[in-house]
């Protein structure tokens, strides 16, 4: 039940990660999908999978007048795995902030699992955030809490009954392979273990989407692949994954859907693309 890498050569890791693309249940059939959406989903053809995330003509202008995002259209179907690439300042972070309603779009709509996040009443915002699990480059673990407490924290503060917390935390620990480290504190863990703790915390309330903001940015290549494999496994379990990254090797090797941002615009959206524009 734990095919996680605990040792072994890099080539073994790579072969286990680079599974052939037919493992993905992509069923692309022509249906009566709105034309505007099909053009923006990166597959070039109409997709029957339910869109879990839709950005429709989104522009975000900050109070200082800078356009962080311009006319962005993006449809992410349920179960998709999307790499978000682009230089610093290209708008990746703004896009992620819009998804969790940390910022509101200046124009256009952001729809998450059927909810227009801008029109959501305040008290429903937390419910939408619980559909998203977020993973950061700097982990954002609480240093005075153990691994188990860090993961349980996400459930405690959302009002989950106590008797449900322990089994859910145990499941998340098992999924990321940290059962043995459960009682340790973040500063006793390696970087990879810390990031796995953060992923377990992001997963513990069964989100529909995992958003990872440069999750491998602070990790060495071997550990980065370990984290990637974990995210791929989570994706196989049906969770949509949106990962912002600078790591060209990973993006190019995995041949997943790649959305490239430049100066706030989507300049490329292709399935099976590399980090850089092909050709």
């Amino acid at each position: 039940m734990l095919p996680l890498i605990t040792g072994g050569s890099l080539s073994a890791i790579l072969t286990s990660v680079l599974r052939p693309p037919e493992a993905r249940p992509d069923s692309r059939v022509e249906t009566g999908y709105p034309a505007g959406l099909s053009a923006a989903n990166g597959y070039g053809v109409v997709d029957t999978r339910r869109p879990v995330l839709v950005l429709n003509d989104v522009t975000k202008t900050y109070p200082n007048g800078r356009d962080a995002l311009k006319d962005v259209d993006l449809v992410v179907p349920e179960g998709d795995f999307v790499f978000l690439v682009g230089a610093s300042g290209a708008g990746k972070s703004t896009l992620m902030k819009l998804l969790i309603r940390d910022e509101l779009p200046t124009r256009g709509t952001v729809t998450l699992d059927g909810d227009d996040v801008a029109r959501l009443p305040r008290r429903k915002v937390p419910m939408v955030r619980r559909k998203i699990g977020i993973v950061f480059q700097d982990f954002k673990l609480l240093p005075r809490k153990s691994v188990r407490e860090n993961i349980a924290f996400a459930l405690e503060v959302t009002g989950t009954p106590r008797r449900k917390i322990r089994p859910a935390v145990d499941r998340a620990l098992a999924l990321v392979g940290l059962t043995r480290q459960a009682e340790q504190y973040p500063n006793q863990l390696s970087g990879g273990e810390q990031q796995r703790t953060a992923i377990a915390r992001a997963l513990v309330h069964d989100p529909r989407i995992v958003i990872a903001d440069e999750p491998t940015g602070n990790l060495d290549p071997l550990i980065s692949w370990e984290i990637l494999q974990l995210l791929l496994r989570i994706n196989e379990l049906g969770v949509t994954v949106l990962m912002a990254t600078h790591d060209a090797d990973i993006v190019t090797a995995l041949r997943k859907r790649v959305v490239a941002l430049e100066e706030g615009r989507i300049i490329r959206d292709e399935v099976g693309g590399g980090y850089h524009r092909a050709g």
Binding site: R123, M127, R129, I134, T158, G159, P161
Partner: protein, 294 residues
């Protein structure tokens, strides 16, 4: 609801002790500020009592005609007592006035000149105590119109001056207390803001995992209340410890003044506990608000 309350309070308790250095620093600041507040409150109470004591000395003394009958006297006393400005009326007979005069002379070691007089030259009088010294004029005028009143001692000027001084001092005391209160408010709120700022990461994680505003806010509010209550407890401890030597020192002062130590200590206890809890809660409330959903 009950489990939410339990959650918030246990999180507050945990938060207080897991960040002990910051919490204790906030509690120390809270204690100092409450001591300042309580100290000024006590001084203010003594000050106001002193003013009342002085003002109580203001009264209207009316000398009566020698021929006044008991009936007329009772009638006058009844009508005087019915006036809203009047607190009490005290009658001094001619004999009593003479006895008082003689006692006063004897106390000053001077000869009693009245023993050479054939009859008692001193008038009987009514000593009218006032509700407020400002009422002096109204009562004096009332008495002047009475046929059986020979003379009303005029201390109008003195009274006016006294009233203007006490009014000024009262206002000054209130302003001073308000300024101290504002200083305490800002310092305590800023201290708690710093403590909350130190936990920004924790709050951010709560926000990101989808904690509702109430789940973010209330543990901090209870923690603020905890800081306030601990601060109040230490402050009261210090005050109780200081009360004994202080009251020895000030025993004479308190004996003269129309002031009850019981009511002061009750007021100060309520002030310290109320201000401590209130400031802690308010400080946490405004500090956390920055982090809630926009």
């Amino acid at each position: 609801m009950l489990s939410f309350l339990f959650f918030s309070i246990s999180r507050a308790w945990q938060g207080f002790w897991r960040n002990a250095a910051m919490s204790l620093a906030a509690t120390a600041t809270m204690t100092l500020m409450l001591l300042l507040l309580a100290g000024f409150w006590i001084i203010q109470a003594g000050f106001l009592a002193s003013l009342s004591y002085v003002e109580d000395k203001v009264g209207v003394v009316a000398d009566l005609n020698d021929g006044i009958t008991t009936g007329e006297l009772q009638n006058l006393e009844t009508r005087l007592s019915a006036l809203p400005e009047v607190k009490s009326v005290e009658y001094t007979s001619k004999e009593q006035a003479l006895a008082n005069y003689r006692a006063q002379r004897a106390a000053q070691d001077q000869d009693d000149l009245t023993q050479y007089l054939a009859n008692n030259p001193l008038p009987a009088s009514l000593d009218v105590k006032l509700q407020r010294p400002e009422d002096y004029k109204a009562v004096a005028e009332f008495l002047q119109l009475e046929p059986k009143v020979a003379k009303v001692q005029n201390i109008q000027d003195t009274t006016d001056r006294l009233v203007s001084i006490t009014t000024f001092l009262r206002t000054f005391g209130v302003v001073l207390l308000a300024v101290i209160g504002a200083i305490v408010l800002f310092i305590v709120i800023n201290t708690i803001r710093l403590a909350v700022l130190g936990r920004a990461e924790e709050i951010e994680v709560m926000r990101l995992v989808g904690a509702s505003d109430a789940f973010i806010r209330w543990p901090f509010v209870f923690e603020g209340a905890l800081v306030g209550l601990f601060g109040a407890a230490v402050t009261l401890g210090v005050l109780v410890g200081a009360a004994d030597p202080l009251s020895h020192f000030m025993v004479g002062f308190f004996q003269i003044l129309p002031i009850s130590v019981g009511s002061i200590s009750r007021d100060v206890t309520m002030l310290v506990v109320g201000a401590g809890t209130g400031l802690g809660v308010a400080g946490a409330w405004v500090s956390v608000r920055t982090y809630l959903i926009r």
